[in-house]
Subunit: 236 residues, 2 copies
C-alpha cells in the first residue's frame, strides 16, 4: 500500500502538477515545512473570508472551488485535482480567501505554510514563472468566462462546461488518453458551475443524451461526441 503522505520527492504529482520542475532545494524545503492531511468528502480545506495561512497542494482526490452568491447559492468556479495548487492568489495579493474549497471525495492535500511558500516563490525561478504565467492565463480565461456567461445561452455554456470537465476527469494517462472520462458530479453542482438552475441543467443534459452527444451511467456523464460539444460550446 503506497504511503499516503510521501516525501514530495516521491509524490506522483511532482511530474504533472504545478510544482513540476521546481528545483531540488525548493522541493526539500517545501517537504520539510509541509503538513499533509486526509479530508473526507464534504470537509473544507479553505473557508471563504478567512485569512490565508498557506497554500494547499492536492495529492489525490477532487475538490470544488466555490463562492457563495445571493441567497447562499453556490457558484462553482473550478474543480481541481491532484497536482493542483490552491490558495496562492489570496496569499500573493495579501487578501482574505475569496472562495471556499471543499473535498468532493476522499482527498489528500498538503499544506505549505505562508512564509515557506513565499520564500520559494521568490527563490525558485521555475515556480515563480509558472505562477505568474498561470495567474495571467487565469485572468484571460476568467475574462472569457465572464463574456460567455453574459452572452451565451445555457445550452452552450453547458456544452462548454462538459468539455472542460472531461479533461478534469480524464485519467492522467502517461500514454494516449482517448478514453472518455466519467464526469461524476451532482446535477446541482453541475448547475452551479454552468450558472443555472438544477432543473434547467437537467433538461439540457436530457437533450444532449437524446442527441447522442453524451451517455450517462447513473449520475455519471460520459461524453460520446466531444467535437460536437466543443462546437456547441463555441470552443475553438
Amino acid at each position: 500500500m503506497p504511503d499516503l503522505f510521501p516525501h514530495c520527492r516521491e509524490c506522483k504529482t511532482r511530474y504533472h502538477g504545478k510544482l513540476a520542475g521546481v528545483n531540488d532545494e525548493t522541493l526539500e524545503l517545501l517537504d520539510m515545512s509541509k503538513t499533509c492531511n486526509l479530508y473526507k468528502k464534504g470537509q473544507r480545506l479553505i473557508q471563504e473570508g478567512t485569512r490565508p495561512l498557506g497554500v494547499y497542494c492536492i495529492k489525490s482526490g477532487k475538490v470544488k472551488v466555490f463562492k457563495l452568491g445571493q441567497q447562499g447559492k453556490e457558484h462553482i468556479t473550478a474543480i481541481l485535482k491532484d497536482g493542483d495548487l490552491v490558495g496562492y492568489r489570496a496569499m500573493l495579493s495579501d487578501s482574505l480567501y475569496h472562495v471556499s474549497v471543499e473535498a468532493l471525495e476522499e482527498v489528500v492535500a498538503c499544506h505549505i505554510p505562508r512564509e515557506q511558500f513565499l520564500k520559494s516563490f521568490q527563490n525558485d525561478k521555475v515556480l515563480n514563472k509558472r505562477l505568474i504565467t498561470d495567474l495571467s492565463k487565469e485572468v484571460i480565461s476568467l475574462t472569457n468566462v465572464v463574456t460567455d456567461i453574459a452572452q451565451k445561452p445555457v445550452r452552450e455554456r453547458t456544452a462548454a462546461t462538459l468539455v472542460l470537465l472531461n479533461s478534469v476527469y480524464a485519467r492522467n494517462n502517461p500514454q494516449g488518453e482517448e478514453e472518455m472520462a466519467e464526469i461524476n458530479l451532482t446535477r446541482e453542482a453541475l448547475a452551479n458551475m454552468v450558472g443555472t438552475a438544477t432543473e434547467t441543467l437537467i433538461r439540457v443534459i436530457h437533450d444532449f443524451k437524446e442527441e447522442e452527444l453524451i451517455k450517462t451511467n447513473g449520475r455519471k456523464i460520459i461524453i460520446k461526441d466531444l467535437k460536437a460539444l466543443q462546437r456547441i460550446g463555441g470552443i475553438y
Copy 2:
C-alpha cells in the same frame, strides 16, 4: 501648454498610476524605450487576437477594454484611465491578446516594448510586486464578477457597475473627492458592461432616476445616492 509626451519623470501618472514608486533607473529605461502616441476617439490601441509587442501606459483619456462574444456583441470588461497599464497579462503569459482596447475619447498612451518591460519587471522589485499583486487581485475580482453575473439580476448589476464607474470617472483629487463623477458612456456601452440589452439598461437607469438615486445631464449620469446603489449592488 503642457507637453503631450513628457519624460516619464514629469508624467503626472507617475504618482498615482501603476508605475508609481518604481525606481529611478527603471523610469529612465522605460522612458528611453517608450513611444508615445495620440489616439483619436475610436482608434484601437490593442486588437484581440494579435501578438503582444509591448505594454501601454495611459497618460490621459479613457479607453474601453472589451471582447467580442456571440454575434460580434461587445462585452466591456473595464474602463481604464490615466496611470493604468494595459497589455501585460498577455505578455506575461506569452499568449495572444484576448481583448481589444479602444480610445473612448482623445487618448495619449505610451508604448513600452516587450523586452524592456520584461526586463524592468524582472529587475524592479516594486513593479514586480505590484503587478503580481494586481494579477492576483484581478483574479479575485473577476471571480466575483462571474458569480455576480451568474446570479444577480440586471438591476443589481447595473447598480454595482455605476458604483464602479463612479470611481473611474471621479477626478483624481489630491484632496477629498466627495463630488460625484459624471459617467459619460453611451447606453450601449453601459449595457455591454452590465451584460444586458441596451433597452433593458435604459429602463433600469430610468427607474434609478425616478427613485432619485441618480440624475442625468444629457447622456451623462451623476450619482446622487451612492450608498443606496452600493446596497442594491450588494457591495459591502
